[in-house]
C-alpha cells in the first residue's frame, strides 16, 4: 500500500504529510500532525466532535480522507483564537458555562464559527438545527445555544 503525499494548508500554515490511502483527515490531524484538539466521538459522522472546515465548508473530518486534503485549506479549533485573545465564540462559551466535560466543545466552536459566518443573525431555531450534528451529552444544549446567540450578537455589534 503506497503512502499518499499531500500538500495542504492547515489553519493557514502550508503543511505536508504522508498518509495511508485509508487514513481519514481526522487520523491525519490527530496522529500525523499531533493536533489533538479535533476529537473522535463516533467515526461515522454522527457526533460532530471532529468538525473542521475544508475550504470554509463545515465537515466531519472522520468522513474525509486525508488524501482529499490535497490543495485544500483546512481549518481546525487550533486555528480559532490564540494565546493572547480568545475568539468571541470561545469567550461566550466560557461566560455562559456552555461546556461541562468539554469533549464536544472544539467541534461546537468550529461549527458555531461556520454558522455565524454563513448566517450572522440566526434565530434560536436556526442555530439549533445548524448545530444538530454536534452532540453534547452534558449540557442539554441550553447554555450552548445561549452562548451561540450571545456570540452572534457580539459579533454583529463588532462588525
Amino acid at each position: 500500500m503506497a503512502k499518499v503525499h499531500v500538500s495542504t494548508s492547515v489553519n493557514g500554515e502550508p503543511t505536508e504529510f504522508l498518509c495511508e490511502p485509508h487514513d481519514t483527515l481526522l487520523d491525519v490531524l490527530r496522529n500525523e500532525l499531533n493536533m489533538t484538539g479535533t476529537k473522535e466521538g463516533c467515526g461515522s459522522g454522527d457526533c460532530g466532535a471532529c468538525s473542521v472546515t475544508v475550504n470554509d465548508r463545515l465537515v466531519c473530518s472522520c468522513l474525509v480522507l486525508g488524501a482529499e486534503a490535497e490543495g485544500k485549506e483546512i481549518g481546525t479549533v487550533e486555528g480559532i483564537g490564540n494565546n493572547d485573545s480568545l475568539h468571541v465564540i470561545q469567550e461566550k462559551f466560557l461566560e455562559h458555562a456552555a461546556l461541562q466535560c468539554g469533549i464536544c466543545t472544539p467541534g461546537l466552536i468550529v461549527s458555531t464559527k461556520a454558522l455565524l459566518e454563513e448566517n450572522p443573525s440566526p434565530t434560536e431555531e436556526e442555530a439549533r438545527y445548524y448545530l444538530a450534528g454536534n452532540l453534547c451529552r452534558c449540557t442539554g444544549y441550553d447554555k450552548i445555544i445561549r452562548a451561540v446567540m450571545d456570540a452572534a450578537e457580539s459579533m454583529r455589534g463588532a462588525a
Partner: protein, 738 residues
C-alpha cells in the same frame, strides 16, 4: 453548621479554571496521549450473545508482521482468574454478550492490529441467548452461569438460577395499609437498556515497567479505583502503578469501572512497548456498561384526600452478564420521596446476555421512580387532584422516616414542589391538544474519602491538588471554596486533578460526591493553610496565633499593630519555618439527599406518534449552589438525558441477541434541535452537615423526566404510556388502540 451567610466567592458565576484549554482544543483527553515507541491495541469481540469458547488459536495473529503481542484471558495471573471483573474484561470459558472481549492484539498500527484480529481463530459453540427478564426468570430458563444460586431468598436456594439476588424492604403493615385505602391502583411498567452516551469513548495509553513504575493514562471517573482494580487483577503493588486521569469526556457513571487498562498493560508487558487502546463507538455501545433494563409492578392505596396508605413494588433489574444491577438503590428509592407508613418493596437482580450494567446517574433510581411516579400521576387523575398537590400531601420532610431506614434531616422536597407549582410554566395551562406531566426524584448523594493538598507558592498564589476527576466543572467549585477560605482571589488558585502519586486516595467521582466531599477536603486543606498563616504571622509579631485574625487574605495583629498579606507571608515562608502546605484528608460524613421536581409540556403528532417537548422546567435542591451556572448545567443536562430515556433511547437486539443499534445514528440521544430551553429552578435548603450547605447535584435531575415526559405524552393522547421509550411507533400504537 451551615447558616445563611454572605460569601465572597461561593455562589458566584466565575469562568472555570480549565475552560481556556477546553475551548481551544488544548485539553488532553483519554485518546490524546502518545508515547515514544507506542503501539496500538485492538480487541477481538464475540460475534455471539452466548457461546461456549472451546478454543482460541492466536498463532497466526502472533506471526503476522507488525504484531508485537497477543493476550487472552489466560494471561491474567491465576489468582485473578476467578474474578468476575477479569472475566468481563476478557471472556473466560464463555462469551456472555455480543461484543464480549475475547482476545487483544498490539501492533505497529491500528490497521495491522485489526488484520491480526481477523487471524485469531475462536472455536465457539453457540448457545441460546437469554435476552430479557421474563425469559431469564422463567422456570427452566437457559442458565447463563450454571453455578449461580439466588441469594436473599427466605430459604437458601438449592437450584441454579439466572436470578442472582432477591431483596426486600418493608415498613409497617402493607395489608392493613391497603385495607384503609379508598382507592387502589396497580400497573406494570418497563424501561429499556440505555447507555450513558458520553461522547468520549473509553481510551488509555499505558507503559508497563517490570522494575520501576508502570503508568496508565486514561479517561475515568476514578483513577484511584482504576489503580486499585488494575493492580489487584495484575498482582501489582499500588505504589508501582501510577494512574493519571486525563480530562474526561463524559462518564455519567459509565467510567467508574475498567475495561481496557489491564489488557493494555498485559500487552505492554508482553511487547515491551507503550500501548494505546481506544474503543470505537461500536465497542462502547456493545461492551461498556449500559444502564439496566427493568420491569416493575407498583400498587398504591390512597384515601380520597390523596393520602397514601400503602405502597408496594416488585421490581426486576437486568444485571447483564454478571450479577450486580442497581436493584438495591432501586428498591431504596422507589418510594423515598413520600411519607408512607406501610410499604413493601421486593427487588430481583437478574442475569441476561447483555453487557454487565454500569452505574448511570443515580443508578437504579430513574427506573424505579419512573414506575412509582407514573402511578402517582394516574392516582392524582383518578382522585381529581393536581399532580403537585398530591405530592405535597404526601411529601417527605424533616423527620420523615425513609423506607430505606433513616429519618430525613432538613430536605428540600416541599420547596421544589412549591416552587414548581408557583412557576410561570405551571401557572399557565397547557396548550390545547398538548399534554403536561409532573414527576419527582430522590437521590441519596454520598460522601466518602477525599484528599486535597494546597501548596502555597512564594508569590502568594496557590496550587490546589485534588484527586477527583472533574467531569462537569468541579475544579471551578473547588477554586471558589478554596478562595472563600483563604480569602484570596480565585484566579490566584490553580486547581489540578492530581494523579495517584500526588495526593492520597480519593473515592471515585460519582454519587454526586465531588463538590460535597472533595469540597470538604479542600476546605479543610485551606483551613490548614490559614492556621499556618496565623502561626507565621504570630511568630513574626511575637504574639499567639489566637491573637491573629485572618480575613480577606490578610493577617491582622489584634494584640497590637501589624498586617501581613498572604503574599508577604508566602514570600518569607522559607525563613519563618519552611514553605506552607495545607492538607485535607477526610472521610466525608453527612451527605445530604437531593430532591427534584420537573414539569414537561409535550405536543404529539397524532398521525405519526412523534413527540415534541415544547416546554420544560426542572427544580432541584442543591443545598448550596457553589457555582450556580454549573448547578444549572447539571440540572439541564440530567433533564435532557432523562428526556432521551423517555422518548427514543433503547438498545435494540435481534432475536439472536445481537445489538442492532451500536452507534449514535440509531441509538438516538437528544439533539440541539429536539429541545426547548430547560428552565432550571435551583432550590437551596442547606445540608446541615456541610460547611456551606452543599448537597451534590449530579444525579437527582435524571430521575423525574422519565415519568414527567411519559405522563405528558399519555395526557396528550389520552392513554397511559407505561413502557419506555415513548418512541413514535409505540405512541402511534397507543393512539390507534385508544
Amino acid at each position: 453548621m451551615s447558616e445563611a451567610k454572605d460569601y465572597k466567592y461561593v455562589g458566584t458565576r466565575r469562568v472555570r479554571p480549565d475552560g481556556y484549554d477546553k475551548v481551544t482544543g488544548r485539553a488532553n483527553y483519554g485518546a490524546d496521549l502518545t508515547l515514544p515507541g507506542m503501539i496500538w491495541g485492538r480487541i477481538l469481540r464475540s460475534p455471539h450473545a452466548h457461546a461456549k469458547i472451546k478454543g482460541i488459536n492466536t498463532s497466526k495473529a502472533e506471526a503476522h508482521p507488525g504484531v508485537s503481542a497477543v493476550v487472552t484471558f489466560q494471561d491474567f495471573p491465576e489468582k485473578s482468574q476467578g474474578s468476575p471483573l477479569a472475566q468481563n474484561i476478557l471472556a473466560n470459558e464463555k462469551a456472555l454478550y455480543h461484543g464480549h472481549a475475547i482476545a487483544a492484539v498490539a501492533a505497529k498500527t491500528v490497521q495491522i492490529a485489526e488484520e491480526a484480529l481477523g487471524l485469531i481463530e475462536v472455536d465457539y459453540e453457540v448457545l441460546t441467548p437469554v435476552m430479557d427478564l421474563d425469559t431469564a426468570m422463567a422456570d427452566g430458563a437457559t442458565l447463563i452461569n450454571e453455578n449461580l444460586k439466588t441469594v436473599g431468598l427466605p430459604e437458601p436456594a438449592t437450584e441454579a438460577s439466572n436470578i442472582a439476588a432477591r431483596q426486600e424492604l418493608k415498613i409497617g403493615d402493607i395489608d392493613a395499609g391497603f385495607a384503609e385505602a379508598d382507592v387502589i391502583l396497580e400497573r406494570e411498567y418497563s424501561t429499556p437498556t440505555v447507555h450513558q452516551g458520553y461522547i468520549e469513548p473509553h481510551a488509555c495509553t499505558v507503559r508497563y515497567d517490570e522494575n520501576g513504575q508502570s503508568m496508565v493514562w486514561c479517561c475515568t471517573q476514578g483513577h484511584f479505583d482504576v489503580r486499585a482494580s488494575t493492580a489487584n487483577l495484575l498482582g501489582m503493588e499500588l505504589g508501582k502503578l501510577k494512574v493519571v486521569a486525563s480530562e474526561i469526556g463524559g462518564g455519567f457513571g459509565g467510567k467508574t469501572t475498567i475495561y481496557l487498562e489491564p489488557v493494555a498493560l498485559m500487552l505492554s508487558k508482553k511487547s515491551g512497548n507503550p500501548v494505546k487502546i481506544v474503543m470505537d463507538r461500536d465497542e462502547v455501545f456493545k461492551a461498556s456498561g449500559p444502564g439496566a433494563a427493568t420491569k416493575s409492578w407498583i400498587k398504591i392505596g390512597a384515601k380520597k384526600d390523596g393520602t397514601f396508605t400503602a405502597m408496594q413494588a416488585k421490581m426486576a433489574f437486568e444485571a447483564g452478564a454478571f450479577p450486580g444491577s442497581p436493584v438495591g438503590p432501586g428498591t431504596m428509592t422507589v418510594f423515598a420521596p413520600y411519607d408512607v407508613a406501610n410499604a413493601k418493596v421486593e427487588g430481583f437482580d437478574v442475569l441476561v446476555n447483555k453487557p454487565k450494567v454500569a452505574a448511570y446517574r443515580a443508578p437504579g433510581a430513574p427506573q424505579a421512580e419512573f414506575a412509582s411516579e407514573m402511578l402517582i400521576n394516574e392516582l392524582a387523575e383518578k382522585l381529581g387532584m393536581d399532580m403537585i398537590d398530591i405530592r405535597l400531601k404526601n411529601a417527605a420532610r424533616e423527620g420523615t422516616q425513609a423506607l430505606y431506614g433513616p429519618k430525613f434531616r432538613e430536605i428540600g422536597f416541599i420547596e421544589c414542589l412549591e416552587q414548581c407549582k408557583a412557576s410561570e410554566h405551571y401557572q399557565n395551562a397547557v396548550a390545547e391538544g398538548n399534554g403536561r406531566g409532573v414527576g419527582a426524584g430522590f437521590w441519596f448523594n454520598i460522601g466518602g474519602v477525599s484528599s486535597a493538598v494546597i501548596h502555597m507558592n512564594p508569590d502568594g498564589t496557590a496550587t490546589l491538588l485534588e484527586g477527583s476527576p472533574d467531569i462537569g466543572g468541579s475544579r471551578a467549585s473547588m477554586q471558589s471554596m478554596a478562595a472563600e477560605e483563604l480569602g484570596i482571589a480565585p484566579e490566584r488558585i490553580k486547581p489540578i486533578v492530581a494523579d495517584t502519586e500526588m495526593v492520597a486516595h480519593n473515592d471515585t467521582t460519582g454519587g454526586s460526591r465531588t463538590t460535597f466531599a472533595t469540597g470538604m477536603a479542600v476546605i479543610e486543606a485551606a483551613q490548614d493553610v490559614v492556621r499556618q498563616f496565623k502561626e507565621r504571622a504570630a511568630s513574626t509579631w511575637n504574639v499567639t496565633p489566637e491573637q491573629v485574625e485572618w480575613a480577606d487574605g490578610v493577617a491582622r495583629n489584634t494584640a497590637g499593630d501589624g498586617e501581613m498579606t498572604c503574599q508577604e507571608i508566602c514570600a518569607s515562608a522559607g525563613r519563618t519555618g519552611g514553605q506552607i502546605t495545607g492538607r485535607g484528608n477526610i472521610n466525608a460524613r453527612g451527605a445530604g439527599p437531593s430532591f427534584s421536581v420537573h414539569i414537561a409540556d409535550v405536543a404529539v403528532d397524532k398521525d405519526t406518534g412523534k413527540v415534541d417537548v415544547v416546554r420544560y422546567t426542572a427544580s432541584q435542591d442543591a443545598g448550596r449552589a457553589i457555582h450556580p451556572s454549573y448547578v444549572e448545567g447539571q440540572i439541564q443536562g440530567g433533564s435532557v438525558q432523562g428526556i432521551g430515556w423517555a422518548l427514543n433511547e433503547e438498545y435494540i437486539y435481534s432475536d439472536d441477541g445481537l445489538l442492532e443499534n451500536p452507534g449514535f445514528l440509531d441509538y438516538r440521544i437528544p439533539l440541539a434541535s429536539d429541545l426547548p430551553m430547560i428552565d432550571p429552578i435551583v432550590v437551596e435548603v442547606p445540608n446541615p452537615f456541610h460547611p456551606y450547605g452543599v448537597r451534590g447535584v449530579g444525579e437527582a435531575n435524571i430521575i423525574p423526566p422519565l415519568a414527567t415526559v411519559a405522563t405528558a405524552v399519555g395526557n396528550a393522547i389520552g392513554r397511559p404510556m407505561p413502557d419506555l421509550p415513548c418512541s413514535p411507533p409505540r405512541v402511534l400504537k397507543a393512539i390507534q388502540e385508544g
